[in-house]
């Protein structure tokens, strides 16, 4: 009840004309930045840090929150339309969204994404209000062995997106893991696969890998087989979600936050793993499994909802513990420190007006974003009407801009091209691209958590299973792995099985 009152006061703060203006500027900037390649929300907030000197803190943070959420909305737009994810959380949106866009359902994909962001963000923010204290105390108890267990679960889940051929899917995953090896070993500082170049010491940026495999690979593949005969443009289609679409999206929208929010709140969680897990979950649960990979709307709705909810979860640990769980949170933390405010256990007492104003502005920002993005969806889709040579030249152009903006290194462009050629070859020989990207993201994180767990236990293997949480996760993994066996042994109850599966 206490937090409800504070929230009401917060709305009082957020709805003042000035703060509304900052929220509006924030979401507009955020959306624009999300649409631009190579500039993720973290970089955007960091670049705007100096602006805060001229602002009082409440206004500044309301604007930052708007940028954060807005960039999430905008990030999926280019993923869906051009297949160029600007940041790793938007990778999944490209997988189902881009085929939809090409089939003339771009507006629906964008609407499903916007709806997902809205609902995910709303539920996430409500959870933030209700659960902030509890989640914060739970987050502290989660350590390296637990992360590793979660990542093993994620790897197991990945096998279900390996595509039609297991061998080819695994090959793709291992190519991704290999790319993930490049760079300094986090634990000891050993160079791995860097061939002595300093530029490779930080590894290959995930954005470069994703843009290379998706955008460049796709552009080259299309170039090799461009349908020159048909001059007709991609149909834009109806601008809104049809009844059928809504029937297919509302459940994923609601399920997304359940996966996204907890991951956002735990350190080392972030938005990538929950988007993958949500994607896999939706694929499992969908009645339209065959459409997956060719443009299933559930595969856009669920992950996008999860991504937004994880952003809300991120704010929980940042505000209550001073724990930055993602890059954006780290930059926002730095912004707090600019004002001499230290997020942490005392923040809610000391700066209650600021915090609740910020939380209330999240709700306001979300409404603004939905109002902005739904009508814009059909406008964005017109991008696809551009003549094919210009469209694919533009994709190559923006991919290059994005890769260069990340680090300002010409070498990144060469790496981008090499990865693009790998992506081209993978398309030619039916190696699915997604497992490779997952390998790049999950591989290094899993290795680091495993080794950290082993180091904390001083080398004893029991260090991997010494927490109740990790044991539970491994039990779940065992169940998933054994489930097909169990099903075979218990015949005759198939129908009921399927019913429970749908309602989960």
């Amino acid at each position: 009840m206490d937090s409800l009152n504070s929230l009401m006061d917060g709305f009082g703060t957020a709805l003042t004309p000035m703060n509304l203006l900052w929220a509006a500027i924030g979401v507009l900037l955020g959306t624009a930045i999300g649409v631009l390649p190579g500039i993720g929300p973290a970089m955007a907030v960091a670049l705007l840090l100096p602006v805060t000197y001229g602002l009082e803190p409440t206004g500044a943070f309301i604007m930052f929150a708007g940028i954060y959420y807005g960039a999430m909305f905008g990030g999926s737009t280019t993923s869906i339309l051009l297949n160029t994810p600007g940041e790793s959380a938007a990778v999944v949106a490209a997988i189902e969204g881009n085929p939809m866009a090409k089939a003339g359902r771009g507006a629906q994909a964008l609407a499903a994404a916007a709806g997902g962001h809205f609902i995910g963000g709303m539920i996430g923010t409500i959870l933030l209000v209700v659960l902030a204290p509890t989640v914060a105390s739970l987050a502290v108890d989660i350590g390296a062995p637990d992360y590793f267990a979660i990542m093993v679960l994620a790897f197991i889940a990945v096998t279900s997106v390996l595509g039609s051929s297991r061998i080819r899917g695994l090959s793709s995953l291992l190519i991704g893991l290999t790319i993930g090896l490049v760079g300094l070993d986090q634990m000891t500082g050993q160079q791995r696969l860097t061939f002595g170049t300093l530029e490779l010491a930080d590894g290959i940026d995930v954005v470069i890998v994703a843009v290379g495999l998706f955008a460049i690979g796709e552009a080259l593949w299309v170039a090799a087989h461009l349908r020159r005969s048909s001059g007709e443009p991609v149909p834009v289609g109806r601008p809104w979600l049809g009844k059928d679409d809504v029937r297919r999206t509302w459940k994923p929208w609601l399920r997304g936050p359940l996966i996204g929010f907890p991951f956002g709140a735990i350190p080392a969680g972030g938005a990538e793993i929950p988007t993958f897990l949500s994607y896999v979950t939706e694929k499992r649960l969908s009645k339209h499994k065959k459409e997956f990979g060719k443009g299933a709307i559930e595969g856009v709705a669920g992950p996008e909802s999860a991504a937004s909810a994880s952003a809300a979860g991120t704010l929980v640990s940042m505000l209550t513990l001073g724990l930055p769980t993602t890059a954006v949170a780290a930059v926002m933390l730095a912004a707090f420190q600019q004002y001499g405010i230290q997020p942490g256990p005392l923040l809610f007492e000391r700066e209650s007006e600021l915090v609740w104003g910020l939380i209330a502005s999240l709700f306001v920002g979300m409404v603004l974003l939905l109002a902005l993005n739904l009508p814009l969806a059909p406008v964005w889709v017109k991008l696809l009407r551009i003549p094919r040579p210009y469209l694919y030249a533009g994709i190559l152009f923006f991919a290059a801009v994005g890769a260069y903006a990340v680090g300002g290194e010409a070498l990144d462009l060469v790496i981008l091209l090499i990865i693009g050629l790998i992506g081209f070859g993978m398309r030619r020989y039916g190696l699915p691209v997604l497992p490779a990207v997952i390998g790049v993201i999950l591989g290094p994180a899993a290795e680091q958590q495993m080794r950290r767990a082993l180091q904390i236990s001083d080398g004893s293997v029991t260090g991997l299973v010494n927490t109740p949480f990790s044991v539970t996760v491994y039990a779940v993994i065992a169940l998933i792995v054994c489930w097909p066996l169990v099903r075979k042994l218990v015949p005759g109850r198939r129908k009921q099985d399927e019913e429970t599966k749908v309602s989960v």
Binding site: I39, R192, L226, A400, G408, L411, F424, L431
Partner: protein, 189 residues
């Protein structure tokens, strides 16, 4: 790293079928089984990862069973195993399905000229962005790509390319404060 999976298929597919000599049968067998190139790439990658891991000198005290070498070794062995499995699969007649899409016409033979041209243009951008600056190299990238993809508007294309490149430069450099190299005339004018 640059091992390209498509190398064996690089032989021009447009070569007309000649009479049944053993050489041409060999060539067509290779074309049929060009996916073996993927196995070869996985194999080379595996060897590369293993060599890198085994030649790493770890002087720092290692704690526990897992050091900086362990994971690369596992991945390297995995790559080798998959290379073998994939070869067996291909020789038994397994084929990866080429990806399809709206703009893709698989009935046409692969157009290698366009692909090579695009790759060349992109590489040119990487080389030129330093000396010539982003606006010029970016415009060349867009123009060249559009040309390679079949756009033939000699007066419209360069103008669109230059405009897009300059506009992007302006957004990143001036509005967002992400500095991009401006070109040879920076500081002269």
């Amino acid at each position: 790293m640059t091992a390209r999976p498509n190398t064996p298929a690089n032989t021009p597919p447009s070569a007309p079928p000649k009479e049944e000599t053993s050489a041409s049968r060999g060539a067509s067998w290779l074309r049929e089984h060009s996916e073996l190139g993927v196995s070869l790439m996985l194999f080379v990658l595996g060897v590369l990862v293993l060599t890198d891991a085994l030649t790493m000198d770890v002087d720092i005290t290692q704690r526990g069973p897992v050091g900086p070498k362990t994971v690369p070794i596992v991945i390297g062995i995995g790559l080798l195993v998959l290379a073998v499995l994939l070869s067996l699969d291909v020789l038994r007649g397994g084929r990866g399905e080429s990806e399809t899409g709206e703009d893709i016409d698989l009935s046409e033979p692969s157009d290698w000229r366009t692909v090579l041209l695009l790759a060349g243009v992109f590489l040119g951008n990487a080389v030129l962005i330093g000396p010539l600056g982003f606006p010029i190299s970016g415009a060349l990238l867009f123009w060249g790509s559009a040309y390679a993809l079949g756009s033939r508007h000699p007066s419209r294309d360069p103008l669109i390319a230059a405009g897009l490149s300059l506009f992007t430069y302006f957004i990143f450099n001036n509005l967002l404060g992400v500095p991009l190299p401006g070109g040879p005339l920076m500081g002269v004018i």
